[in-house]
């Protein structure tokens, strides 16, 4: 029945084993389903329902509650600009509008190539380094409208396989909420959080 890859099925087993009850694995399995197809499909949600031994309607009730589960085609790079209070105070709206303008993609939409989606989001916990932007949930702090435009150009040109927070902070960031100390190698490979099987490690060749 399953249309998931062998590796994904193996990971689903591991995830379910981390919970006392199968239903608790709905949220992580929804991320797995997104990683398989780039966004959540009816088939993906039906698969999650089978794994968790609940109905597809119950899975949909969860998937539709949370903003990070995208049920429509999302670009390879999801640019999320924070426009909550602290970022707004320091020009977050201008960064968001610059990103919209440079990409030609308005809030909540995706470009024709399926490369870039743009959204403005509520607080992402980077208020001390406002304004903040995330690409596939990898953070950049202290972004200016100009740097926001450069970020869009860079994503279009470089098309990085792996989106890495330290690299982007270096290229497009400014002041930070706190000292990040040492850089890390991991990054995201799609519009979902790079955690567990969903991220990967940058090799030297990528950087």
């Amino acid at each position: 029945m399953s249309h998931w890859s062998e590796a994904t099925r193996e990971r689903a087993h591991q995830i379910i084993s981390r919970y006392p009850e199968k239903r608790s694995a709905v949220m992580p399995l929804l991320y797995l389903a997104m990683a398989e197809e780039g966004h959540l499909t009816d088939a993906g949600m039906a698969e999650v329902a089978e794994w968790c031994e609940i109905t597809p309607a119950q899975v949909l009730s969860v998937a539709s509650f949370y903003t990070m589960y995208k049920r429509e085609q999302t670009g390879k790079y999801l640019i999320s600009c924070c426009t909550s209070i602290s970022c707004m105070l320091l020009g977050g709206d201008d960064v968001f509008h610059a990103v919209e303008d440079e990409s030609g993609v308005p809030h909540g939409e995706t470009d024709e190539e399926g490369l870039i989606s743009v959204e403005h989001v509520e607080c992402i916990g980077a208020c001390g380094g406002a304004p903040a932007v995330q690409v596939n949930y990898e953070l950049i702090e202290g972004v200016t409208p100009e740097k926001g435009r450069e970020l869009v150009q860079w994503l279009r040109k470089a098309k990085p396989e792996i989106v890495n927070t330290d690299e982007m902070q270096q290229l497009f960031g400014g002041s930070r909420s706190f000292d990040w100390a040492i850089p890390e190698d991991e990054g995201a490979i799609g519009p979902y959080p790079a955690f567990g099987p969903l991220g990967t490690v940058r090799s030297e060749a990528d950087s």
């Binding site: 709905v26 949370y66 995208k70 105070l89 509008h97 919209e100 939409e109 607080c123 706190f178």
Partner: protein, 499 residues
């Protein structure tokens, strides 16, 4: 102000490797976890109770007392709340990224004290990097036998699972978090009967503690509760992480003693207001907290009591500072928009009220407000939070709705003239006047691929509804739909410019 650093000491002194298990152990780490394994539940609860440690997630409830409420049924569970989403707050992110083992040791202590053998760390989905750091720390601890079967060679088993959220602020509310962890929508449960300590995760006794709360535990055990309670020269004990943001010269996280004043925080620690501007107002404890103003509150002590006495709260320790050039209507709109977007929709006063408040604020900002609008805002607020009292008299299951009322209290009490001038002036005159990007309550998800669709949205609007609707008229689906096009239309020109 010479307070010892506790939870940020290691990351300050060992910048490059404070997150590794080697550094953690070489600086005294995991000693207290081992010691806790030899202590009884009663001893541990008593020790934490007498330290005076208050929960650092926002409610500031005695951590030891919370533990003492744990019902006798077993199994019991521990959930660490790392769903930090309160606008202005970013302290847990630093603790998770820079010193995850400190939290893991706190988890072991808390689990032992509450006889839990399975702990969950609920990290918000947008915190991908903190989640990776925490998972790596857990892997290191498992590899050394500090987690898993028979931890530290004892007979005690402890499993820890990292659970990622998916972008819902409401999951920071402990019963919503538990629902989310059970694989349900993150809707808060009614208390009573669903107090987590009695009927929590899987209807079993459950302790939900914040990251910073748990991270304090190794220090309390190491120095002893007496020493810990002497750190601050105030009724509140220990240190307190404050996240400072907005128009200050030096934003950031600061670990501070209780009992300094707001003047100390904003002018000394925060370096004063940017560009030599005047301070206009600040939010003392995250977006949920009622605002403070300089002429009344600047010399108040930063303690739970003093803040509550002035009608606000320290909440999550997030201080958002606004200078003289900040439009109060826009700031209020932005905070109300947050709560409107994050309302789970269960309770009518919150779901409908926050939506209406957002609409009314937006029309005032763009110059379509009416003389009665401030009173209308207060009236709608009264429907969510009776008398706009603080602490709120609840009409809803959880405090999210009443939190949205906080900016309205500020507009009513301190900035009435500014609101009325927006009405008589037909709009905002502050620098950078512009309305919020599209309303989020109705547009939180990418639409199907179609760039051309934007021009349709841009041209479909009419002016924000300024007819005399009263607060008891409930917004219908049509209202919601219209609201979507209305708000977009206010910046329709710009939207249409995009290709």
């Amino acid at each position: 102000m010479t307070t010892p650093l506790l939870v940020t000491k290691r990351m300050t002194e060992h910048r490059s490797d404070s997150h590794t298990i080697d550094r953690y152990e070489s600086t005294g780490g995991y000693v207290e976890a081992k010691r806790a394994l030899g202590m009884t539940r009663d001893d541990l609860v008593e020790e934490v109770k007498s330290s005076g440690l208050l929960g650092r997630g926002g409610a500031a409830f005695s951590a030891g007392l919370k533990w003492s409420f744990l019902a006798p049924a077993r199994p019991s569970y521990l959930v660490v709340n790392a769903d930090e989403s309160e606008p202005g707050t970013f302290k847990d992110r630093q603790l998770l990224e820079r010193d995850p083992h400190q939290m893991v040791e706190g988890i072991i202590i808390t689990a032992v004290a509450n006889e839990a053998h399975h702990a969950f760390i609920y990290i918000r989905g947008e915190y991908a990097k903190p989640a990776r750091r925490v998972q790596r720390a857990l892997d290191e601890a498992y590899a050394k036998g500090y987690l898993g079967k028979g931890i530290f060679g004892s007979g005690y088993d402890l499993e820890v699972t990292v659970h990622l959220g998916a972008g819902a602020y409401i999951c920071g509310e402990e019963t919503a978090l538990i629902n989310s962890l059970e694989g349900l929508r993150g809707e808060p449960r009614l208390k009573p009967p669903y107090f987590p300590a009695a009927k929590g995760l899987y209807m079993k006794p459950t302790i939900v503690n914040n990251v910073e709360t748990v991270s304090n535990l190794p220090h309390i055990l190491a120095m002893g509760p007496d020493e810990y309670s002497k750190i601050s020269d105030s009724a509140d004990t220990g240190t307190f992480m404050m996240s400072l943001s907005g128009h200050v010269n030096d934003p950031g996280n600061y670990e501070l003693p209780h009992g300094i004043t707001w003047r100390d925080l904003i002018y000394d620690i925060g370096g004063g207001i940017r560009d030599g501007k005047e301070l206009k107002t600040w939010i003392p404890g995250g977006a949920s907290a009622p605002w403070f103003v300089p002429d009344q509150h600047i010399d108040l002590e930063i303690t739970k009591e003093a803040t509550a006495g002035a009608g606000s709260m320290l909440g999550s320790g997030a201080v958002i500072v606004m200078d003289e050039d900040t439009c109060m209507v826009r700031a209020a709109e932005r905070i109300v928009r947050f709560f409107s977007h994050e309302s789970c929709g269960q309770c009518t006063p919150c779901r409908e009220g926050t939506t209406w408040m957002e609409m009314i604020l937006r029309r005032i900002e763009v110059g379509q407000g009416r003389e009665v609008d401030l009173d209308l805002l207060v009236d709608v607020s009264d429907g969510i939070s009776i008398d706009l009292a603080w602490p709120p008299k609840m009409t809803t299951i959880c405090p999210l709705g009443p939190s949205a009322v906080s900016p309205i209290i500020a507009l009513r009490d301190y900035f009435r003239d500014e609101v009325q001038e927006h009405v008589s002036n037909r709009g905002c005159w502050f620098p950078g006047a512009r309305v919020s990007p599209h309303p989020t309550a109705v547009a939180d998800r990418p639409q199907p691929v179609s760039i051309g669709a934007s021009s349709e949205r841009g041209s479909g609007g009419r002016p924000p509804d300024a007819t005399g609707r009263s607060s008891d008229q409930v917004a219908s689906h049509d209202d919601r739909a219209r609201r979507s096009s209305d708000a977009v239309s206010t910046e329709g020109d710009r939207v249409e410019e995009t290709p």
